[in-house]
């Protein structure tokens, strides 16, 4: 894929060092707890797995029990559910969407296709490994997973958020060069998004040694002022 290898990526597994102030600890835990109990899932069906989401959302399996509701705009959504294969055309929109979402944000890859290409592994039109383009917090196996499996997965994610382990969104800032490289590999070197990830990384103080690199240099060289997306009629 790109020159950066996944193995170079240091996995951010270390538990966050607890602050000495017990009050702050309690506060942190409270924040995590609240986060895990109220999540908005972006209403964007990327692939076939989306067909099992309406059952999961509605009366029969009722994910509102868990405090999860669909949300129509990425700016207010917490969870990006990638429901199955992403065609290259969709992947661009997925990345745009992901970058628009406010941190903390969580990505769930559903179905085989997000892991290793799934049944479309020979297809020229779909991307194969989702985590090369955006960091993924959780995978749910199945083709497609049943609503029960989706709900089980969401509960897992809640548990992870509660213990402050679902931090893959930080990885996007810390290893932006890797993700950008893979995106450029697929979309060409002219690829740019309206969101200033590097700037955001600075703001969140998540700029790491791998945030910048050869790919971000390419980005800088091609970056041009934002224009409205092509809207030819």
């Amino acid at each position: 894929m790109s020159n950066t290898d996944l193995s170079n990526i240091e996995v951010n597994q270390k538990p966050v060092a607890k602050r000495s102030n017990p009050f702050a600890n309690v506060f942190n835990e409270l924040v995590s707890f609240c986060r895990s109990r109220s999540m908005f899932m972006l209403h964007y069906c990327t692939g076939c797995g989306a067909i099992e989401l309406p059952p999961a959302m509605t009366s029969r399996f009722d994910m509102e029990r868990l405090g999860i509701q669909p949300m129509v705009t990425p700016r207010q959504a917490d969870i990006l559910l990638i429901t199955g294969y992403v065609s290259i055309k969709t992947l661009k929109r997925v990345i745009l969407t992901y970058e628009q979402m406010g941190a903390p944000k969580y990505v769930i890859g559903i179905c085989s296709c997000t892991v290793n290409g799934g049944m479309y592994w020979q297809s020229y039109a779909t991307a194969k490994k989702l985590d090369e383009y955006i960091p993924v917090d959780l995978y749910i196996a199945g083709c497609m997973p049943r609503p029960e499996a989706v709900i089980e997965g969401l509960q897992q994610l809640m548990a992870k958020i509660k213990t402050d382990e679902a931090n893959s969104w930080k990885k996007y800032y810390e290893h932006y060069d890797y993700y950008l490289g893979n995106q450029q590999h697929l979309f060409g070197n002219n690829w740019q998004t309206p969101t200033d990830i590097i700037g955001e990384a600075k703001t969140y103080q998540l700029e790491g040694p791998n945030t910048l690199g050869e790919h971000t240099k390419i980005l800088e060289s091609v970056q041009r002022p934002l224009e409205p997306l092509e809207m030819k009629l």
């Binding site: 009366s59 029969r60 290793n116 083709c143 997965g153």
Partner: protein, 617 residues
């Protein structure tokens, strides 16, 4: 417009009915209805749910059919050390591992599984984070992905089975039409039948592994399926110059190992080989065999004693490597046991002759009627040749040494078969008792049955053997066909002696009922029930209990020089004897089996080739 315009009556649903103001009150009834919401815990899936894979390792043979049918390239075959791995039985220690990043749970792998070991469970929840993505690659076992029991879901049924388990039918002579002649019984496949039969193959390669000479059966079956008989011949000749012979009388270990044979009838690999050979002209086969043969003469000479399958296979290999090969055959025709031991109805002489013709056309020189020890001495061979191969086969019949077995109407099967095959007149008895349950016993019984039918109009042959019928050494189809031809089989009969009347005429064979054949140490020690004594009336008794090699041609001096092991020549794994110029191959080393002999011929030829190369350097 001439369209079918049907006007419907008033709509079923009256949308103009705006209803009453009290309509919302109707909704109060919902309070009394059962809620539809399911508990948060995952439900149990249906009885044939297609969940995660299960694989019964005891059943699985590692044939990789699942890997081939998988449309998503999700299945990797993994070798598991410690599991049984027996090519002869058609078992490999490979097991499928499944990539849930590819799988689509279509269960085609379950439906094709020849051993029915794969199934899908009713378990369907698996989640993991990026760091544990390796958990998407699993090695299914009977315990399930999370070692929790959910029970089997989708399993193969008779409806969903994708394999074709029955052979395509081949025409053969009916018993009444074959009993009075030596015509070949089996017709061979028509092209349509052959392609259909070849299409049953799942290309697992078990046949290749189990074959003594590792014939490329999957490749030639595929070639036949592609209607490319010439390619099939090319694949066959990679390992077997006795292609016509093996296409007819091979002991087909491949078919015993065939994966399809686990639940159904194995692919008729032998008949397919025969089909390939029969459908290409003799001249074309010669051309195919000669393709790419550019070996230059090496100036080395090899002598081979015995023009049977082992000897001629070695000759075939060596002559193609550029050596000069001379074969010395005691009898007037080449082929050894395949010529003199196998009756015409199983292997017509002219098809055997085709194989031999191809070998001789390469430049192998055969000296017929040349008996070593009589016409030529071993020492001469040793002097004139760089290497000598002893491929003398098993020409002498073993004797039972029961009472009166020295009577002149007690024959050895191999001697009689040889006479019958050369067309020599024999004193044909009206009734015969055959001792033995192997293929040779069947051959002699069936040959005599044909002669009896021709000359006397009826068959009176009794075949007795120590074993029970299901444990006979003979092929099941031989037994079946013998019965069809009117041969009486008496199993579990131990021969005790021949009955002779006062005139010295043989009148019968006395047998006792066998209670057990082997003792506790699995040594041959038959036990009899003397009370169940039967006398089978007959004019002649034929012993078909095995053969041994006649090594008298070696001469006294050489016999003493060589190392022996329990009466057999001591050889290494390459067939070389303790003398560095003498090799031994074929039935005299392995016991009777054509395809083994061919394998042996290759092995010895390779060993000689290597040694000659070393010498040249």
């Amino acid at each position: 417009m001439k369209m079918k315009l049907k006007s419907k009556k008033a709509p079923v649903i009256d949308h103009s009915d705006s209803g009453s103001l009290l309509n919302p009150l109707k909704n109060l009834q919902f309070l009394a209805r059962k809620p539809v919401t399911e508990p948060l815990k995952p439900r149990l899936a249906s009885l044939n749910y297609r969940g995660f894979h299960l694989n019964d390792w005891e059943e699985c043979v590692g044939c990789a059919s699942c890997q081939k049918i998988c449309d998503n390239a999700a299945i990797t075959m993994v070798e598991i050390p410690g599991l049984p791995n027996d090519p002869v039985k058609g078992i490999r220690n490979h097991r499928p591992a499944i990539d849930y990043g590819r799988c689509c749970w279509c269960a085609l792998c379950v439906d094709i599984c020849p051993s029915s070991s794969l199934s899908l469970s009713r378990e369907y929840v698996h989640t993991c984070d990026q760091e544990h993505i390796d958990s998407y690659f699993i090695l299914p076992d009977p315990n399930g992905i999370h070692k929790e029991h959910f029970g089997k879901g989708w399993q193969k049924t008779e409806h969903s089975d994708l394999l074709s388990l029955t052979r395509s039918v081949m025409a053969e002579l009916e018993p009444e039409n074959r009993i009075d002649n030596f015509d070949e019984i089996v017709d061979g496949f028509t092209p349509e039948q052959a392609v259909l039969e070849a299409s049953r193959c799942v290309q697992c390669g078990m046949c290749h592994d189990s074959c003594p000479t590792n014939m490329h059966a999957p490749e030639y079956i595929r070639a036949i399926w592609n209607n490319d008989a010439e390619e099939a011949v090319r694949q066959i000749y990679r390992t077997n110059p006795f292609a016509h012979v093996c296409g007819r009388v091979c002991t087909h270990r491949c078919e015993d190992a065939c994966s399809i044979g686990i639940r159904g009838e194995p692919i008729a690999i032998r008949w397919l080989k025969r089909y390939a050979m029969d459908s290409v002209s003799h001249e074309r086969i010669k051309e195919i065999v000669n393709e790419g043969n550019t070996a230059k003469s090496s100036g080395k000479k090899v002598a081979i004693i015995g023009a049977g399958p082992a000897g001629l296979t070695a000759a075939f290999d060596l002559v193609r490597s550029g050596h000069q090969v001379e074969v010395f055959e005691a009898l007037p025709h080449a082929g050894g046991m395949t010529r003199y031991g196998i009756p015409d109805y199983r292997l017509p002489f002219d098809t055997l002759q085709q194989d031999i013709d191809i070998i001789t056309s390469l430049g192998v020189k055969i000296h017929y009627n040349c008996i070593i020890g009589k016409n030529k001495r071993m020492s001469t061979l040793r002097k004139n040749f760089d290497a000598v191969i002893l491929a003398i086969g098993l020409s002498q019949g073993r004797q039972t040494r029961i009472k009166n077995s020295d009577h002149r109407h007690v024959y050895r099967a191999v001697d009689l078969l040889q006479k019958i095959s050369t067309g020599e007149e024999i004193e044909l008895p009206h009734s015969v008792a055959v001792i033995g349950g192997g293929n040779v016993a069947m051959d002699i019984a069936r040959s005599l049955a044909r002669l009896q039918k021709q000359q006397y109009g009826k068959v009176q042959i009794t075949l007795t053997a120590l074993e029970e019928q299901q444990h006979f050494m003979a092929d099941p189809e031989e037994i079946k066909e013998s019965l069809e031809e009117g041969i009486v089989i008496k199993d579990s009969c131990g021969p005790q002696g021949c009955e002779i009347d006062n005139d010295g005429k043989l009148t019968g064979l006395k047998t006792w009922k066998v209670t057990s054949i082997f003792d506790e140490q699995h040594r041959f020690a038959p036990q009899y029930d003397e009370e169940q004594e039967v006398v089978h009336n007959c004019e002649a008794v034929i012993e078909a209990i095995g053969q041994f090699a006649d090594t008298s041609l070696l001469g006294k001096e050489l016999t003493e020089q060589l190392e022996w092991n329990r009466g057999r020549l001591q050889i290494d794994e390459n067939g070389q004897t303790s003398e560095d110029w003498l090799w031994s191959a074929g039935d005299c080393v392995n016991g009777p089996d054509v395809v083994h002999a061919v394998a042996d011929g290759h092995r010895v030829a390779a060993s000689i080739e290597q040694q000659l190369k070393v010498k040249t350097q």
